[in-house]
Symmetry: none
Subunit: 210 residues, 4 copies
Amino acid sequence: MTAEPPVPATSNTAGEPAQRRRRDAAETRQLLLDAARQRFARDGYAATTVRDIADDAGVNVALISRYFTSKEGLFEACLRAAGDELRRTTGQTPADRVPEAIARHIADLGAAGLSSQLSLLLRSSGDAGADEIRRGVLVRSSEQLAAARGWRPGEPDSEQLLLRAQMALAAGIGVAVLRSSIRLEPLSSATEQDLVGPLRDLVDALLPPR
Amino acid sequence: MTAEPPVPATSNTAGEPAQRRRRDAAETRQLLLDAARQRFARDGYAATTVRDIADDAGVNVALISRYFTSKEGLFEACLRAAGDELRRTTGQTPADRVPEAIARHIADLGAAGLSSQLSLLLRSSGDAGADEIRRGVLVRSSEQLAAARGWRPGEPDSEQLLLRAQMALAAGIGVAVLRSSIRLEPLSSATEQDLVGPLRDLVDALLPPR
Amino acid sequence: MTAEPPVPATSNTAGEPAQRRRRDAAETRQLLLDAARQRFARDGYAATTVRDIADDAGVNVALISRYFTSKEGLFEACLRAAGDELRRTTGQTPADRVPEAIARHIADLGAAGLSSQLSLLLRSSGDAGADEIRRGVLVRSSEQLAAARGWRPGEPDSEQLLLRAQMALAAGIGVAVLRSSIRLEPLSSATEQDLVGPLRDLVDALLPPR
Amino acid sequence: MTAEPPVPATSNTAGEPAQRRRRDAAETRQLLLDAARQRFARDGYAATTVRDIADDAGVNVALISRYFTSKEGLFEACLRAAGDELRRTTGQTPADRVPEAIARHIADLGAAGLSSQLSLLLRSSGDAGADEIRRGVLVRSSEQLAAARGWRPGEPDSEQLLLRAQMALAAGIGVAVLRSSIRLEPLSSATEQDLVGPLRDLVDALLPPR
DNA sequence: TATGAATGAGAATTCATTCAT
DNA sequence: GATGAATGAATTCTCATTCAT
């Protein structure tokens, strides 16, 4: 519906005949990846057709097979990308700025779609490979989150802290989904400013700063 | 093929002959509803086939059309049932027992599947009718949750409080999904005892008891 | 092209509205099997589409999946049927009538399609399961053929005799294909009468009667 | 991807630098032709993809279009080549050596693939042009075979003799296919020595030397 | 009421072929 | 001459739904 129209790399200022055929493999791949991430996050795996994705990206359907082997392969690539993005947020943030970082992540509903990256992590394709990737991403992120608040593997109460970190992650993801997929009001139209306070309370309550 | 139908929720108290139960419209309906709720919650709407559901319920596929008109109709019925259940939890609970109630709800991974009721609320069918029902359920639940902590429509800061209630709800749903669908460890095997403490911290932080 | 029009079981004498829906599972299965055998024999596995077969049979495509799981499954069922038919010819024939039996088999270009059964044995689907079935059919048939001329497993010259039986079988199949698929003239329009003499010479030369 | 191209049929006598061979239209053409003949003979027309052939030949797919216009065109070229080869065998052989020539032809399972040339003649592409070529090849070959045993067009019994020649040809082709495509044992691992005796019996029985 | 046969729409994937470089 | 990106036309299979019994 509100799909971003495919913007050709070469700016198409004049009213030239809508030249298809970009002939840039890397860019085509990325266009597909972006379109897929949004569709998968918004509609779920099964409800998304490869044709939807290809149309959003403005490229031919067959290129999905070419670049990602299959719909599954494309989904896994999306998960990996979302994992990288999430790791960047939870990993490179000083302990006391974590809530802000999460808030920023959640709030970003833009085309870049950090929020949709989060929602994506709840979507299942039924494929074992994808499930494994997703669990890996979530485990690593929750460990980074816990580590930011003093968690060390093997220590006493280590398990407890990790559990709380996973709940904080779950909360963040839940908020992202209710905002971007379900569009629950007033949550859906809350700004980053609106979110950061409650999120700070939430994170600090689960993972008290030392 | 003729998979043994799962024992219906309503306990079969009387000493009736073991395999009666045929030709009972109400029971058939309930069997389908129970099977559908679990499938939809676990696998999502699009990934669930009506044949899966009918097989789980031990009844013929065509009866789904008969009793619920369509797959959409069955899904909406599931949402309504989940809404009723959720309303019972968030509505009939005194303010200071809300975290315990949520914890109980989330922890219940049994066949009855309170946890799956929560997960269900994140599942989308792409159908506008179902979306509306879901939003209704979530809005009402968050309002009840907020009301338990003193929210009244129209008052100053009313919006703020509702937003926080929705975030608490989102957190609960997020935890339910990570437990039941994603099976993230150690969250997935945490007991109700393990969950209630962190959840109390979380809810109290978002919605401070007055 | 020259596909036998699907004859409904219930004779359709009057000009009734071309009633689809036969509702007879066994018959539907057989209709598909017959249509498939002819198509596969004539055009080969890969060149035959399931839609062709279903149209020839006058039934819906989806029923191929229902009754035979897949195109592969249907092909294997055809091979098995061809094997049964062939075994009947080479197995239940007294030694000195073998050439006549083969001639009759090859000559039968009718709808029943004994000739197409033979051609089928040369068609490959690329599927390992089908290849195994085919080899089994051919081995058994050549053993029966050899046995009719005195072959016994393990005896001296046993291998030699089996080899000759396989060559006789190969000759029969080759003739069937050149007649029915390639339509090479004058071979293609030769009658059973025309074929039986040369075939007798051929078989007797390879497998001298004792 | 860049699979080592099979050594071209034409022996590379001179001591040229090992990996020249790029940019030689004639050689590229031949590489494609050799690869195609083997694939088509082994897997059939429809089951063979142009990409398979190009990969086997170690050249780019698009060159098939360039040199042979289309997949059909390549197939027809293969048929023509097989016809030339076959004509050489059946045409330039004195009457009493025909069985040996056929045996040699059938026995040759090497990369050059005389046997695969024979199998190829049974493969159909569904294209009328190819069918015509194939029939032409087979008719001419059977006429040559018959002529070696005294056949002259128009003479009495001329038709009879031609029919018998076609059956001998069919037998040869049948044996080739059962050996190379079906891999029926013990026929498949029989040597030229094993084959020549039975083949002599077969040919002499069908086409008695005068 | 219940069942299984039948159907048509739609989805993923493969593939020959055409272009732009 | 050669390459690899792109395309559109199939093709197989799945699935919700409808009918006849």
